[in-house]
């Protein structure tokens, strides 16, 4: 008896591809796979350009500052030195703030914390570049937005300590802020779920005939969530005045960006399939972040619709206080990151153009440290986690606008009479 022929039986066996990062603990860090264009080489199309005419941009890299700190090319936003110093100050303050609160976690003063070390340029530049009444829909890694807009540091710490003065009444995990008056939408722990809110908010602004635009943030790992696809679809269909930002810091906890799809394409290039302009931008270059954001914002404000921007950066710290990155990547990988440190690069630029000195920088750091120390003292005078709490009645407030009988009865179980 002869067996029937099986189609393809003589072909090679199938194999399943599992992406792996270029370096693991003990290996030499290797970023040679990243496409890194030189500063000033990418063209800057007019904002009225059709998406179809700009399809090389999502594969390139918009950079303004070169390795010497010189600002080059058409994307240079030509910012006044005082704006640059303001940005530098906010970035330094963000880093010092995060280092301080990270230590506070290690000292048992709070339960959890996350740093944005290495990514400060993104939140800070965008916070300063957009209008005060625009709204950002942040991830948990853009604390620089609040600091750049002058949100009270002591309130941030009160939130992190969940103490009696916590603006969110002890209901939220540390750093899941909400600051409406600072254009900072309520954070939630489930990733990606607010990317579409940014689009809806922008559609509402367009419906009302206003001038306000929205900025949505998502991490590169979270682009795998359906929310990413839905937001891009709605943004494209309704030409929503929204800037959609992917902060590609190479790591989603322990998973490298290849697990999210970066082996095959760029995150900016995903815009092409939706008919949206995509920009791939040096996220550690304050000037490039600013320029790309304004370019996209101007498109949005002139009814030209949404733009997807990938900010290429590196998560220099662990994912959170609960994470140990040395378990999955080289301990010194951050030092090999080819786009450097955003603070050092802007500082170098300011010094190069004669608008800053090492002395002034050291003086500013000392001054900011003092401000932060005072704010921390003020918050700790109220209390750290568990030493001071919002009134327990706050647990029952705000489920609905008015509590229904269940909540009234249940708070009665804790002895609270209405």
């Amino acid at each position: 008896m002869t067996k029937p022929a099986i189609p393809g039986a003589d072909a090679i066996a199938l194999s399943l591809h599992i992406p792996e990062p270029t370096a693991r603990p003990g290996d030499v860090a290797d970023f040679s796979h990243l496409r890194l264009d030189a500063a000033g080489t990418m063209r800057r199309p007019d904002i009225s350009t059709d998406e179809a005419e700009m399809r090389e941009l999502p594969y390139g890299l918009v950079r303004v500052l070169d390795d010497n700190g010189e600002a080059l090319g058409p994307w240079n936003p030509q910012l006044a030195p005082e704006i640059l110093r303001k940005g530098l100050r906010a970035m330094v303050q963000t880093r010092l703030f995060e280092d301080r609160l990270f230590r506070a976690h290690r000292q048992g003063k709070t339960s959890f914390f996350m740093k944005s070390t290495g990514e400060e340029a993104i939140g800070v530049a965008q916070s300063l570049a957009l209008a005060p009444d625009d709204m950002c829909f942040p991830t948990y890694r853009v604390q620089g937005w609040l600091i750049a807009r002058g949100y009270p540091i002591v309130d941030m710490i009160n939130q992190i300590y969940s103490n009696a003065r916590d603006p969110l009444k002890g209901r939220q995990l540390p750093i899941l802020y909400s600051a409406r008056d600072y254009g900072f939408y309520s954070l939630s722990g489930n990733v990606g779920s607010r990317f579409g809110h940014a689009v809806g908010w922008a559609m509402a602004s367009a419906y009302k005939g206003g001038h306000r635009i929205a900025l949505g943030y998502i991490g590169e790992g979270t682009t795998a969530e359906g929310d990413f696809h839905e937001a891009l679809t709605f943004a494209a269909v309704y030409r929503a005045p929204v800037v959609l930002a992917v902060t590609n810091n190479q790591w989603a906890i322990s998973s490298f960006s290849g697990i999210a799809g970066a082996e095959s394409t760029t995150f900016a290039a995903k815009a092409i399939g939706y008919g949206l302009p995509g920009l791939r931008v040096d996220g550690n270059d304050f000037l490039a972040v600013w320029a790309a954001t304004l370019w996209a914002a101007e498109r949005a404000r002139t009814n030209r619709g949404a733009t997807l921007i990938e900010f290429v950066t590196y998560r220099a710290s662990g994912h959170s206080t609960s994470d140990d990155p040395t378990k999955y990547r080289p301990a010194d990988e951050a030092a090999h990151w080819p786009l450097g440190d955003p603070i050092e690069r802007l500082k170098q630029h300011l010094i190069l153009i004669g608008e800053w000195t090492e002395e002034r920088h050291a003086q500013m750091e000392a001054e900011l440290s003092e401000i932060l120390r005072d704010a921390q003292r003020e918050a700790e005078a109220v209390g750290t986690l568990g030493k001071s709490k919002p009134d327990v009645t706050e647990m029952f407030e705000g489920v609905f606008k008015q509590p229904d009988w269940r909540v009234i009865e249940q708070r009665g179980e804790l002895g609270i009479r209405s």
Binding site: M135, F137, P167, L168, K169, R171, Q172, L176, S178, A179, R180, Y185, S186, S188, N190, S193, R194, F195, G196, H197, A198, V199, G200, W201, A202, M203, A204, S205, Y207, K208, A214, G226, D227, E230, A231, T233, F234, V237, G398, V399, F400, K401, D404, W405, R406
Partner: protein
Amino acid sequence: MNMIQAINSAMDVMMARDPDVIVMGEDVGYFGGVFRATAGLQAKYGKTRVFDTPITECGIIGVAVGMGAYGLRPVPEIQFADYIYPALDQLVSEAARLRYRSAGEFISPITVRSPFGGGIFGGQTHSQSPEGIFTHVSGIKTVIPSTPYDAKGLLIAAIEDNDPTLFFEPKRIYNGPFDGHWDRPTKNWSQHPAGEVPTGYYKIPLGKANVARAGEALTILAYGTMVHVCLAVVEEAGVDAEVIDLRTLVPLDIETIEASVKKTGRCMIVHEATRTSGFGAELSALVQERCFYHLEAPIERVTGFDTPYPHSLEWAYFPGPVRIGEALKKVMKD
């Protein structure tokens, strides 16, 4: 008006009153909805207020939450409640929690309309009653009307409400009350007093039940299509039951329920949804906790079976007059 016209009228009234009310969903625009609930609204209010969306429930609700955060009052439609699951994350993690987690900085005043329930040979994905999934979530209100008059008044109240509300529409009774006798000619709303619906603005407060039939012998708790089935069973059995149409599941009108069961001493709960962990379980627990010393018989539940909703076995699944009648005899024994 039939229930569809009443629902259409509620949206019309609210759009005329408040420019922040917008309607969105799959096929709701030019076409006017697969059940015609949004017919004529786009022509009257324009494409930017009544518009079709891509087919993504998560996207529809996510965008609506963002619009609500801006200050609009969106009324998104999910074409069938069976298709609400892709939006679960947005409803549970976002809409329901936004006010609480932001300490009131942002709110989600959205009203999600969705046809639900069986009795129409809809099979597994056009018949489900998922209300129990949402009543379990703190921060969401759940409303289910049983008449055109209530549907309009409750929908207006839901749209005006500043909290996220799920508005489940029993599609079996869109065109007429259904008493469960599938083998008899169907009635339409023009022959029913609750088919009389004012054309203008009125509302029925959320959280208030309606005593659909006053009685002394037992209390029947029901909502949606089951109100009409229960009323028919009671008349046929000649039992002096008090039939309470809950209308709002969250917030629940516990006072009316408690007063009724304490008066009658007996309680039967009827819903289409599957039994285990369904809303009936919560009702049963509440009655047991609050009326234990007044109860003269165990609380009875008549519900859908713990199976997916079948197609050809529709009338064996649907809690109809036979099953409800048997439970009625059981709860009235002694």
